[in-house]
């Protein structure tokens, strides 16, 4: 396996408050990894560091074997795409216009669209099931549909690494399942994906690897069964809970008590 993303001795603090201390994490190409942990544990900071929105104050973030700081903006945007929690929009762009903006890092100085760009946009709309909504204004869509459009834009970037920061935080169950189902299909096609989630059960059901954060440190890392254990979760989340499992191969699921 080859390395997609690596944090080595990464430290980061907002103001004087340390968020990550000496983080070491390695994501292999092709993995679908869930980042878990309570609020303020450093998951989002992790994503923003990997996206290049933040620069580590200590240590190094490596993307496909190369220091992230060495990437020019265009090249970085061809390597990594981000789906944030929410995407507020001030102007009434239409769905296909939003998705087409994902092609920007593949375009030249003048942003002219090629046939390849149009193909990529059509494909991203198809994969996310948004093709029939292409001409609608984004503002007219539901929260779940909007998030699929933002995911389509990220896919149109043709990234090698996809980062999602709680993409389903504001969505109902049906749309959560739809997003995670999509992530699993993309995983099947070999896309390396890192998804931050507050939903332990959804993450456990869809990700082969979970990483649990607490106060800027990784406290557990491995397959869902190794990470979602009662004694670990009780300590990290500070609530009483139970972990159940259906059958031998099933994913564990967590029930607060």
């Amino acid at each position: 396996m080859s390395e997609a993303l690596a944090f080595e001795g990464v430290g980061f603090a907002y103001g004087g408050t340390p968020v990550l201390r000496d983080l070491a994490l390695r994501v292999e190409a092709g993995e679908l990894t869930g980042l878990l942990g309570p609020n303020g544990a450093g998951k989002t900071t992790c994503v923003r560091l990997a996206a290049g929105s933040l620069t580590p104050q200590r240590g190094v973030v490596r993307l496909f074997g190369r220091d992230l700081r060495a990437y020019p903006a265009h090249e970085r945007a061809r390597a990594v795409a981000v789906v944030p929690q929410e995407s507020p929009l001030e102007f009434e762009f239409r769905v296909h216009e939003i998705v087409a903006m994902g092609r920007s890092p593949h375009q030249g100085l003048l942003g002219l669209e090629s046939a390849e760009d149009r193909r990529a946009v059509a494909e991203a709309l198809r994969v996310t099931g948004m093709a029939e909504h292409a001409a609608r204004p984004l503002a007219a869509l539901s929260g779940g549909e909007k998030q699929r459009v933002i995911l389509a834009r990220a896919l149109a970037q043709h990234p090698r690494l996809l980062l999602l920061d709680e993409p389903t935080a504001h969505l109902d169950l049906k749309h959560r399942l739809a997003i995670y189902g999509l992530l699993q299909r993309l995983h099947g096609e070999g896309l390396t994906t890192l998804v931050v989630s507050h939903d332990l059960n959804l993450a456990a059901a869809h990700c082969a690897r979970l990483v649990l954060f607490r106060c800027g440190e990784v406290v557990a890392d491995g397959p869902p069964r190794a990470v979602l254990r009662r004694e670990i979760l009780r300590e990290v989340y500070e609530v009483d809970l139970e972990v159940r499992q259906d059958g031998e191969g099933g994913a564990p699921f967590v029930v607060p008590l």
Binding site: F91, E92, F93, R94, E97, M101, P105
Partner: protein, 321 residues
């Protein structure tokens, strides 16, 4: 549309020129005082109006994109006021002819506009986003302050140098010389072309700094380049026509309803639309209350003020704030 409004604006006025005279002027066979009025007085004014309208409307679009605020306008942000202050300071230092064709006046106005944007960004971006109400509040205060300083310079300063500049405060289109027109045209056409060529980047910037960066934009650089070019357009307009408000608000807003928000269409559309809008507004200002000639700034503020209030009202109601 633009050509039509230029023709209409040329015809309107005292005395009015008919199609026959316009046709004769086009063929170069017009003679006498009609020729002087039409070609030497009215035509330069109409052309300046077109350039100023194009500059203000495209600057409005650019500011709206980088500030992510559809209410931004060179006048409302205080940028025009800052440009005027730079312009008047320059005049009080020496260059007294208000229609001097040198580059000094527009460059001084450019410096004033840039300084204003520096203040505006420093104040509103320090706290994270650019909240529209904060932004407008800062703009209002800057405007009040700048016009106080300008009035001070115009009344208490060396008035022999500045008395001819009063018309700039209300926004009036003079009849410039061809040299001035050529310079304004170079500055405005250059900046509008610059903005239009970067229009796809305005789309990305309008999504927010972080998203734009994720999509490969060097945000700092692109933002400041946009601001500098939009300020140059504003400065060229303000240096010779003074403060004409709301063009950058009304025209982009109307065109967004027709062309959509994609800046690759909106920006050239706003340049042409702004030109047509101001040419017609000036024709209206010249003729509505004949023989009195209103300053065009009075007319645009008369249209733009209520328009702005309606937009703000709908926005605040929509946000539930």
């Amino acid at each position: 549309m633009l050509l039509l409004s230029v023709a209409l604006a040329l015809g309107l006025g005292n005395p009015a020129a008919g199609f026959a005279e316009l046709g004769a002027a086009l063929r170069g066979t017009l003679e006498g005082p009609g020729r002087t009025i039409l070609l030497d007085i009215r035509l330069p004014r109409v052309l300046l109006g077109a350039l100023v309208g194009a500059a203000l409307a495209s600057a409005g679009v650019a500011f709206q994109a980088v500030l992510r605020n559809p209410l931004a306008d060179p006048f409302l942000l205080g940028v025009s006021g800052g440009a005027l202050l730079g312009r008047v300071l320059w005049a009080s230092l020496g260059a007294s002819d208000p229609l001097d064709p040198g580059l000094g006046a527009p460059l001084a106005a450019f410096a004033g506009a840039l300084a204003t944007l520096g203040i505006l960004f420093g104040l509103t971006r320090a706290g994270g986003g650019t909240r529209s109400v904060t932004l407008l509040l800062v703009g209002v205060v800057l405007n009040a302050f700048f016009s106080a300083v300008v009035l001070f310079l115009l009344t208490a300063g060396d008035t022999s140098r500045t008395r001819d500049l009063f018309f700039l405060l209300v926004g009036t289109l003079p009849s410039p010389s061809w040299e001035v027109l050529a310079m304004v045209a170079t500055l405005v056409v250059g900046s509008v072309l610059g903005l239009a060529l970067g229009a796809h980047r305005l789309n990305l910037l309008s999504l927010g700094d972080e998203t734009a960066a994720h999509l490969g934009v060097r945000v700092e650089r692109a933002t400041w380049a946009t601001i500098a070019v939009a300020s140059l357009a504003t400065a060229a307009a303000v240096a010779f026509a003074g403060i004409i408000g709301f063009v950058g608000l009304v025209v982009p807003h109307g065109l967004r309803l027709v062309l959509g928000p994609d800046h690759r269409r909106l920006l050239p559309g706003a340049a042409l639309g702004g030109a047509a809008f101001l040419v017609l507004a000036d024709a209206g200002a010249r003729t509505l209350l004949q023989p009195v000639q209103l300053p065009v700034g009075v007319l645009t503020a008369g249209i733009g003020g209520p328009f702005f209030l309606v937009l703000l009202w709908r926005r605040l109601r929509g946000a539930g704030a």
